[in-house]
């Protein structure tokens, strides 16, 4: 009898909400920011501009597509095909010389970049937007995208990498906050704001519900994504962005106080090299470097500042090329490593290459080297040894603070950074086996990390210490042999690049106590054992080793450690140390050294020793890092200088693990290096020690606190969450279904009617917003007639006079209700749409729809 009319449209009011006008620009802003955050690390300014344009175009295109009449499959495939086409063209542009020839290589590269950036932004955003327009419930995809953008940006700050917003990171440090926490909070706040705004745009309950999906999505991401690996990414790509290269390494900016002018020089060099690396002319390197190091010879360290400009000039032109060229042309090593690496290594190497060896008094100290383990752990080069006495060798690289008293048996502190155990074409290289050399950490610790393959503790002493890097290194180093590492707070970000703690099992027993020890680890596989004894196919090594061993008394001849010691002692006597003999350009530099003029430097010595040992079946490898003379220690502080870079042979003893058995040649051709600057050492040690006096533990605990939380078993938590919510939902569903049988008669009409509504919701009958019960009942009754009665009962219960006599009130008759529900169930069975009905019947959340 009521006039026919449309149902009230309760959603239309949202169009007048105050945010309505702003939603499109707002969404664009959110997506734009997220895209920029995702792409910032990977592109140059040109790429970023393309990303901005691409986002705008993608969003507009998506709006358009979403409102078009194309099928959803087209919406999905269209952007995909467009993406494939554009990125293919982008690849072709850079791959074919034709384009580069026509426009020049720079233009071609830029063109390729623009095309790829376009493909990566327009296609995904268009698809995202199109689907969201079509199904507003998918808005959580956009939210997740925004979240991913910020998460990626801020994840790179974990582990104390204070890269991007310097002003913020510095502020945090200055006010004593952990920058990671501050940045994560900023990111989290931004994400929450954006998520709320995005959802408010729709203002429907569904949108708010989808918001719940976001934390779960984030949980899955946290569980599965290798966040620490993620954090490394930006650094790997640094060199692709010439514009940001300087900003990336705040500690390298030339801002050192007069206290040590050498740092200034070092920094200046490095930056210039980086730029020069790409464009320097080839050739003429040899002369330049020679000339320069000669200049440097007589120079006192304090004067270095004045000459810095000269140095830089020389380096800019020649050095980097020199290294690269040598590697590619002569040694061929470059082919074993990823191509890009050559460049950066080249720079770093070059910087170290200048540094002359360190303390001449100790045999071991001499091997440092040239390219061996320079600061950012470049690859070693067997050629181009540095002049030992160059002042560059006194460039401070790090300060090691020892927490425990320790006197190394060999009078040298060995700080291992890398090991070479795998037989390459011309020399030993870093291993590619996952099971070898696991005792050498590859990455800086982002949290307290235990290191695998700890050595037997018998012959060793537990030493704790902190390494504070003056220059950024690619890999961490610690006193051999570290068993765990943890991040530490950088005591002075202006001066130091990074700090971390280590705990090492350092060798305590003198070498003499190992005489009867067996070599190798019984738990090794045969394959691994033979890996550590593999050597070049050159019979002269075996011959020589055999000959040396034969000199031993027969009854001792079988002791492997004595064999190794014999070889070492022979080498001490017979070989000559000189950084000028490079043995470059030959097939096997080690053989050339050992069986030629017997003159070389640490890398040659180490390789020769390892090859000889291996020919005797002794598992051995080359350790690379810094070797610091014990006499240079100032209290607990040990200053590592660039000249301390060194390579040494190690062998594996069953009782003690990897043990350094270094060669100390008696004959040394190089001039002794100048003594190290104790003032600088004291000053640096002071700086490094300053912020973490006794409350040592506290400072670590603070930045670590948020990371400890990451040890929560996310996976179990998530599963428990899912299972728990499923159980709760099914429980509620079952209760709502069975309740009509048990509830008191008073509430029977409500509960039984609710049960009927649940059953209707399972087959898709849901009351519309604002629809009255009666109208809904009439609508449903067309197909399920029994529902009409139930509606009447329910309405009567709701609105009729509660005071009327109980007698004759049908709606309180349980038998009638149960019978009606049974009828409803049988009527429902006769409905056509069975497939969906079954799904909905199984769904734990079907009752949420009924209202």
């Amino acid at each position: 009898m009521s006039p026919p009319r449309a149902r009230p449209d309760t959603t239309s009011g949202n169009e007048q909400s105050p945010l309505a006008w702003a939603r499109h620009p707002l969404r664009l802003l959110v997506l734009l920011t997220a895209s920029l955050a995702l792409s910032w690390e990977l592109t140059s300014w040109l790429g970023r501009a393309t990303v901005v344009l691409g986002v705008v175009v993608g969003v507009l295109l998506g709006e358009r597509l979403g409102r078009s009449r194309y099928r959803s499959a087209v919406l999905a495939c269209g952007p995909l095909v467009g993406f494939a086409l554009v990125s293919l063209v982008g690849d072709l542009v850079t791959r074919f010389e034709l384009v580069a020839g026509l426009f020049g290589s720079t233009t071609a590269l830029s063109l390729g970049l623009v095309l790829r950036a376009t493909a990566w932004t327009v296609a995904p955003l268009a698809a995202l937007r199109a689907f969201t327009v079509r199904r507003p419930g998918l808005v959580f995809l956009e939210v997740a995208f925004a979240a991913a953008g910020f998460a990626a940006l801020f994840a790179s700050h974990r582990g104390g990498v204070l890269a991007r917003p310097l002003w913020l990171g510095d502020w945090a440090v200055r006010h004593g906050h952990d920058p990671a926490t501050v940045l994560l909070m900023v990111g989290g706040a931004a994400f929450v704001t954006f998520a709320l705004l995005l959802a408010a745009e729709h203002g429907r309950r569904t949108s708010w519900l989808t918001l719940l999906a976001v934390p779960i999505l984030a949980l899955v991401l946290v569980m599965n994504a290798d966040l620490e690996r993620l954090a490394q990414l930006p650094r790997a790509s640094d060199r692709d962005q010439p514009l940001t290269a300087h900003g990336d390494r705040p500690n390298q900016l030339p801002q050192a106080p007069e206290a040590d002018s050498k740092q200034t020089t070092g920094r200046g060099e490095r930056q210039d090299e980086r730029e020069g690396g790409g464009k320097g002319e080839k050739g003429e390197k040899g002369e330049t470097s020679e000339g320069k190091s000669k200049d440097g010879d007589g120079r006192h360290a304090r004067d270095a500042k004045n000459d810095a400009s000269n140095d830089e000039k020389g380096q800019r032109e020649g050095r980097p090329q020199e290294v690269n060229e040598g590697r590619e042309d002569e040694r061929g090593d470059a082919s074993e490593r990823p191509q890009e690496r050559g460049e950066s290594e080249g720079h770093d190497t070059d910087a170290t290459g200048e540094r002359p060896p360190d303390d001449p008094s100790r045999g071991e100290g001499q091997g440092e080297g040239e390219n061996a383990p320079p600061p950012p752990s470049e690859a070693p080069d067997l050629e181009d040894p540095p002049p030992r006495d160059s002042p560059q060798n006194r460039e401070p690289m790090a300060v090691v603070l020892l927490g425990d008293d320790y006197e190394p048996p060999g009078q040298m502190f060995y700080l291992r950074q890398e090991t070479w155990s795998q037989l390459g074409d011309h020399r030993l290289v870093a291993t590619t086996r996952p099971d070898a050399d696991r005792d050498v950490p590859i990455e800086f610790p982002a949290r307290p990390t235990a290191i695998a393959d700890a050595p037997p503790e018998g012959a060793r002493k537990r030493i704790r210490g902190t390494v504070t890097l003056v220059h950024q290194h690619r890999r961490p180093f610690a006193l051999e042999t570290p068993v765990s590492m943890a991040p530490a707070r950088n005591p002075n970000p202006k001066r130091f690049a990074r700090a971390y703690k280590f705990e090492a099992l350092a060798q305590k027993a003198p070498h003499g106590s190992f005489v009867s020890s067996r070599v190798g680890n019984p738990s090794w596989s045969d394959d691994l054992r033979s890996y550590y004894t593999r050597m070049p196919d050159d019979a002269r090594f075996t011959e020589l080793a055999k000959k040396l061993v034969e000199k031993l008394e027969p009854k001792r001849r079988a002791l492997p450690f004595l064999q190794a010691l014999t070889v070492k002692l022979w080498m001490d006597e017979q070989l000559t140390y000189s950084t000028r003999h490079r043995h470059s350009g030959v097939a096997d530099p080690t053989a050339d050294f050992l069986f030629g003029d017997k003159t070389g430097y640490c890398v040659h010595f180490a390789h020769a020793a390892v090859y000889l040992w291996r020919s005797l079946g002794i598992p051995s490898r080359v350790g690379v890092g810094y070797a610091v003379n014990a006499e240079a220690r100032e209290g607990s502080a040990l200053m590592v200088q660039s000249g301390d870079a060194h390579a040494w042979p190690e062998l594996y003893l069953e009782d003690a693990g990897w043990v350094v058995l270094d060669i100390a040649p008696k004959k040394i051709l190089d001039k002794p290096p100048p003594p190290s600057d104790r003032d600088v050492q004291r000053k640096l040690a002071e700086l490094a020690r300053e912020p973490e006096p006794p409350e040592d533990e506290d400072t670590t605990a603070k930045p670590l606190a948020p990371k400890v939380k990451l040890h929560i078993p996310w996976r179990k938590l998530l599963v428990a969450l899912l299972v728990g919510s499923l159980l709760v939902l099914y429980g509620i569903k079952a209760w709502r279904r069975l309740a009509p049988r048990v509830v008191p008669r008073r509430s029977l009409p409500r509960v039984a009617y609710r049960a009927a509504l649940d059953r209707l919701a399972e087959v898709g009958y849901v009351r519309g917003e604002g629809e009255t019960r009666e109208a809904f009942g009439r609508r449903v009754a067309e197909e399920l007639p029994s529902f009409a009665t139930m509606t009447d009962w329910h309405v009567a219960d709701q609105f009729a006079d509660p005071a009327r006599p109980d007698h004759g009130r049908d709606e309180r008759d349980r038998r009638r209700w149960l019978a009606a529900l049974a009828t409803l169930a049988s009527e429902r069975r006769s409905l056509a749409k069975t497939r969906r009905a079954w799904l909905m019947r199984l769904s734990p959340a079907s009752f949420l729809a009924s209202k």
Binding site: M1, S2, D9, R750, E774, H794, V795, Q798, K851
Partner: protein, 370 residues
């Protein structure tokens, strides 16, 4: 006047000579001339079922007389039962007058001795005077005395045609009568009939030279009903049965109701139809929403809520229910509230706004019920 198709045989009321004289004669036992008058008392209406029967009879008659207006007929019956007045707003020729006359036609005056007639029609014009509506005092030279000649308001059903064409003073005279059920002439207040129903019409488009009713006066009407064109099949039906409709008044097989039956039914209704507290809350909720909504300048008055209650009861009765449900609110809210609200400039569909607010309140009510 365009819709004089079924004008009742009586001429327009305001120039009718006093009907008291002939009526007095009838009171003496002469056969009644009109079917609209009887002396027999109908059985008293005491329960809901018979109350419903009264209105079922009226409905039947009205539906037979007016095709395709079932919804409006129901609303008018609700108004009759709820003791409210109705404002019909529609274009000429849409059956407003027919409807009003049919309503008058189905009521039988069972107290023929008073001065009240069944139906009167007033055609409002700009030069009409209040006394033309209320009645006036006339000097009788035979008796040398003044006597009161009642105006057209002294009727059960008054059809006030084109109410916005007359001057405000006539409008206010009418409105006083509507509100108080009395008229004041020459300082003497005379009560109108207990069953006094005004069905006013106005043309929403042809507004030149009219005096639109102010909101305060619109408030006196229980419903403002906007009639739309009837469905084509109803129009066809109407054309086919045109002649029969013409003889509507002569169809004895369709029952009529008497005045006292209607009054009894009202009493029964207000006593027996239960209004739950939840309904009260819903009404108040709707009113608060109209007051809070920025599209509405002036929200629903408390009087409108008071008037709404009997209307809801009446609708429940017509649905043979003895309790008011949410559906009654849903069905009547727009007609009850829309014309009483002052909407902000730019709101083009007031009905939609009220429907939306009502829907929100009803949704709240429905969700609370399971």
């Amino acid at each position: 006047m365009t819709d004089d198709l079924h004008d009742a045989p009586e001429p327009s009321s305001h120039d009718l000579p006093a009907r008291e004289a002939p009526r007095e004669e009838e009171a003496d036992g002469a056969p009644l001339r009109s079917k609209h008058v009887t002396r027999e008392k109908s059985p008293p209406v005491t329960d809901l079922e018979s109350a419903f029967n009264v209105f079922a009879r009226m409905r039947e008659r009205l539906r037979a007389a007016v095709k395709g207006r079932d919804d409006v007929i129901d609303l008018i019956l609700v108004a009759v039962l709820a003791d409210g007045h109705v404002l019909l707003e529609d274009f000429p020729g849409s059956g407003k007058t027919t409807l009003a006359k049919a309503l008058g036609d189905c009521i039988v005056d069972d107290e023929p001795d008073d001065a009240i007639v069944t139906i009167r029609r007033i055609q409002f014009t700009p030069d009409l005077l209040p006394s033309d509506v209320t009645g006036t005092t006339i000097f009788d030279p035979n008796t040398n005395r003044f006597f009161f000649r009642p105006g057209p308001l002294f009727a059960h059903v008054v059809l006030a045609d084109e109410i916005n064409r007359t001057s405000p003073k006539v409008q206010s005279a009418l409105l006083e009568a509507m509100a108080e059920k009395q008229v004041t002439v020459d300082n003497r207040t005379r009560p109108l009939d207990e069953l006094f129903l005004v069905i006013a019409t106005q043309n929403p488009l042809d507004v030149a030279g009219t005096f639109p009713l102010p909101n305060a006066q619109l408030d006196r009407f229980l419903f403002k009903i906007r009639m739309t064109h009837i469905a084509p099949q109803h129009e066809l039906e109407l054309l086919r049965s045109f002649r029969d409709l013409k003889r509507l008044g002569d169809r004895p097989e369709l029952p009529r109701v008497t005045r006292s039956e209607i009054l009894d039914a009202r009493v029964v209704m207000s006593r027996a139809v239960y209004v739950d507290e939840k309904i009260h809350q819903t009404l108040v909720g709707i009113a608060s929403r109209t007051r809070a909504d920025e599209r509405i300048l002036q929200g629903a008055s408390t009087r409108s809520l008071v008037l709404a209650l009997p209307a809801l009861q009446a609708r429940a009765l017509l649905a043979r229910r003895n309790y008011v449900t949410a559906e009654d609110v849903d069905a009547l809210a727009v007609q009850i509230f829309t014309h009483r609200l002052e909407f902000a400039p730019g709101v083009t569909e007031p009905d939609t706004v009220v429907r939306q607010l009502t829907g929100m309140e009803l949704e709240r009510l429905a969700r609370g019920s399971v």
